[in-house]
Symmetry: C2
Subunit: 189 residues, 2 copies
Amino acid sequence: MMIPVGVSNRHIHLSKEHMAALFGEGAELTVLKPLSQPGQFAAKETVTVEGPKGKIENVRVLGPVRSLTQLEISKTDSFKLGVAPPVRLSGDIDGTPGITIHGPKGTVTVDKGVIIAKRHIHMTPKDAETFGVCDKQVVKVKTQGERALIFDEVIVRVSEDFALDMHIDTDEANAAGLKTGDYVELLPS
Amino acid sequence: MMIPVGVSNRHIHLSKEHMAALFGEGAELTVLKPLSQPGQFAAKETVTVEGPKGKIENVRVLGPVRSLTQLEISKTDSFKLGVAPPVRLSGDIDGTPGITIHGPKGTVTVDKGVIIAKRHIHMTPKDAETFGVCDKQVVKVKTQGERALIFDEVIVRVSEDFALDMHIDTDEANAAGLKTGDYVELLPS
């Protein structure tokens, strides 16, 4: 019952409208490298994000463009920016703080969209059957090593479009001594 | 079986010799605020630490002075400095990386002393009896909330000089959604 880990560094998803405002009318994202989830990629493009207390440069844009702009940061990053984002699943941005985004061709201020990503496991329906879990189920995941721990409150997300991967942020990776490509164990419910 | 949490931000302990080199001959630490462990305090004094890739300013000196200089940072900090410290208990610095320390009156480069603190619980012999654990025992600790997890590999440290407190670093605190003063639960072995 082992699952590979993907550590998500801070990153941003852009709407088509904000892509144009930040990178110019008609600009498109260029692929730097594919990500574990099919069709998703890290783009060559980066932005600077700025909050009330500070800014962070070189924030990677992930592609393809989405319907909503969403900045995913760690709690550590949130202190630097001076924002207090909630822990949320991707796409669930109602009531979240906004941020200012600087691109090479313009600046955009969004009034919501900053989250700390809730830890989750992507898997296919076939994986879910193998593991005996279902979409949105909360599971426990065990790690190994000198910083071993058991993550509780891990959300299972099931789709034909997914590949098996547990996503954690950099705080979680550092706290557990994990890096991308390490394996963790899904505990029986 | 609840234990209060103390989140340790990056900090440094100085030897008498390095104290003199950084702050001037005869300089003494001044108390900013007492810490949870009896006799220990955050000093008003701070230093800048510098590694191969970058530096971090305003690193708090903890008092009183010790026999060995030791810099305790998070894994997140280690990437910024460009050093690769091991996860260690305080005082166990053989084979650890060195660092350059800048004070108001001088600079010192130590050839060892940088660690990532291994999570641990301080307690008195009476606490140990209550909890049914002994010095150096490895225990599990459960946290609550939306980032709930169970820390494994937690070392119990027992001394008459201690007060009950679980020490974690900022990566661990952020990953678990904990802050100083929160409570965690020692799980039965």
